[in-house]
């Protein structure tokens, strides 16, 4: 905990030092940013935006995992499916979020469902790729063992394959959150009238960097809370059996 506190202090100090090299219109310091954030919160319009973005990010992540994990796993397990889908995944990865967002908004209307679908589809290929690599690397001897014990495919998948690719899922959730948050910013920008990303761009267009950083800071704090209060404990539980690497 000590290290972590020092590390945070160092980060803030670095930010502060950096901010000295720029004017506040380019990179405001931590104090000004915090002050802006506090004022925003006092003004009372922060929660709605935060809540909307958080809901979109969460739902988008869930959708991306729901699409990405099975596709990646199936591609890792079955050579036919791999061959059939590998190029699709690369295409899916290349199509800009803009295109997804546009098609979703026009097809499904300018609503939350379209937003979430656009976010989920944009992020799914990255997650699929991660799982695909993960499954190709699992220990086949354990799969053989499970088959000897007459485990059906679903059991093999859930109890032998999945635990082995959990680190990949964990990584996907972590960086998925980051990607999805970035996508959400973009999608909010072109199709939603609220949200942290919306605010971010709003103030960016006004060249009001203290506000831009205040909203960034807000979401950063939320992400840190997610990491410390949700992901770390989950990870700790899932991987408590694992001996620690020592070099």
């Amino acid at each position: 905990m000590m290290i972590r506190l020092v590390s945070i202090a160092a980060a803030i100090a670095l930010w502060w030092l950096l901010s000295l090299a720029f004017t506040a219109s380019v990179l405001p310091g931590p104090l000004l940013t915090l002050q802006t954030l506090v004022e925003n919160i006092a003004a009372g319009n922060v929660l709605v935006h935060l809540w909307m973005t958080l809901a979109r990010v969460t739902a988008g992540l869930a959708l991306a995992l729901l699409i990405g994990v099975p596709i990646g796993v199936l591609m890792g397990l079955y050579r036919q499916i791999e061959r059939a889908l590998d190029l699709w995944v690369m295409v899916g990865l290349t199509v800009p979020s803009l295109c997804y967002a546009l098609v979703c908004f026009i097809w499904l209307g300018l609503n939350e469902a379209a937003t979430i679908v656009a976010i989920g589809i944009t992020a799914a290929p990255s997650i699929a790729i991660n799982l695909w690599e993960g499954v190709k690397n699992i220990d086949t001897r354990l799969v053989a063992m499970a088959r000897v014990f007459e485990a059906d495919r679903w059991t093999v998948f859930r109890r032998v394959v999945l635990p082995q690719v959990l680190p990949y899922v964990m990584a996907s959730v972590r960086f998925g959150l980051g990607i999805i948050w970035k996508i959400a910013v973009l999608v909010e920008l072109i199709g939603r009238p609220n949200g942290v990303g919306f605010q971010l761009f709003y103030w960016y267009q006004l060249a009001d960097m203290p506000q831009v950083l205040a909203w960034t800071l807000l979401f950063t704090i939320v992400m840190l809370i997610i990491e410390l209060a949700i992901l770390k404990p989950i990870e700790h539980r899932l991987f408590s059996w694992r001996p620690r690497v020592e070099l």
């Binding site: 001897r141 000897v148 059996w241």
Partner: protein, 261 residues
């Protein structure tokens, strides 16, 4: 006829050669009939194809040529009419599950009625003296303990046929002796059919109805063990047979791999 568990005819197994080299022919036309409730031991030099053979009999490796019937049915066509248990040469435990959870996994997979779980586990954990380690993860157990845990797992699902690949190789003599006796008890009580690979000729002589001496991908010799059961571990008859077996084995193995010049 229903008494035949495995009927293997002209079994040939090749592994593709590396980088275009000629394929490695590991099993070269193996023939074997195994009857219900037989206890067969396989002896053979390291690398002669014993594990490869068990892999095929277990159904894991379908890439072979030749014919195998199981319980009177063609093997390749779907699920065999018998439950085949297979104790691998390595323990193959799931590292993220505790000892007990590893056993639970197998019992759930095999659909052992959960009413019987506690009884089965208690019996076999005690048998292998692992009772105190039910909550340990595999990496917290010794090599021999992992091997015993794999044995617990294989026995708990109560297979009709049990393929065992050097199950006692990493155990001390006392533990191994006890388990051999216990295994014979279980075998007698449940009417299992057991194919048992070992490098310990005394173990083979004590346990089996007949010993198959494998070498160069073929069964070179078949040695019936005509000692009455129940057997005593220190029975001079077994001792005598073991002498013959060792001699035969050294001959067979020597023939397979002549001493380096």
């Amino acid at each position: 006829m229903n008494d035949v568990v495995f009927s293997v005819r002209n079994l040939v197994k090749e592994f593709p050669g590396r980088d275009g080299a000629a394929p490695l022919r590991v099993l070269k036309g193996l023939d074997l009939v195994v009857r219900r409730n037989e206890f067969i031991c396989i002896l053979g030099p390291s690398g002669c194809g014993k594990s490869t053979f068990l892999n095929i009999l277990s159904g894991l490796d379908p890439r072979y040529s030749g014919e195998i019937d199981v319980g009177g049915r063609k093997f390749k066509a779907g699920k065999p009419p018998l439950r085949i248990g297979y104790l691998f040469q390595e323990p193959r435990l799931l590292p993220w599950l505790t000892a007990e959870q590893n056993v639970d996994f197998a019992m759930r997979s095999c659909r052992v009625p959960s009413s019987r779980w506690a009884e089965l586990k208690d019996r076999h954990f005690q048998l292998t003296r692992l009772d105190a380690f039910r909550g340990h993860y595999p990496h917290q157990m010794s090599g021999g303990m992992c091997q015993r845990l794999a044995l617990v797992r294989a026995l708990c699902v109560e297979p009709d046929v049990l393929l065992m690949d050097e199950p006692f190789s990493g155990l001390d003599e006392l533990t191994a002796r006890r388990l051999r006796v216990d295994l014979l008890d279980i075998w007698r009580d449940t009417g299992k059919t057991i194919i048992f690979v070992t490098h310990n000729s005394y173990e083979a002589s004590f346990l089996s109805d007949r010993i198959l001496m494998m070498s160069q991908g073929e069964v070179q010799q078949e040695i019936p063990i005509d000692v009455a059961r129940p057997r005593d571990y220190d029975d001079p008859g077994i001792f005598e047979i073991n002498r013959r077996v060792v001699k035969l084995f050294l001959e067979v193995a020597q023939a397979a791999a002549p001493a380096t010049p």
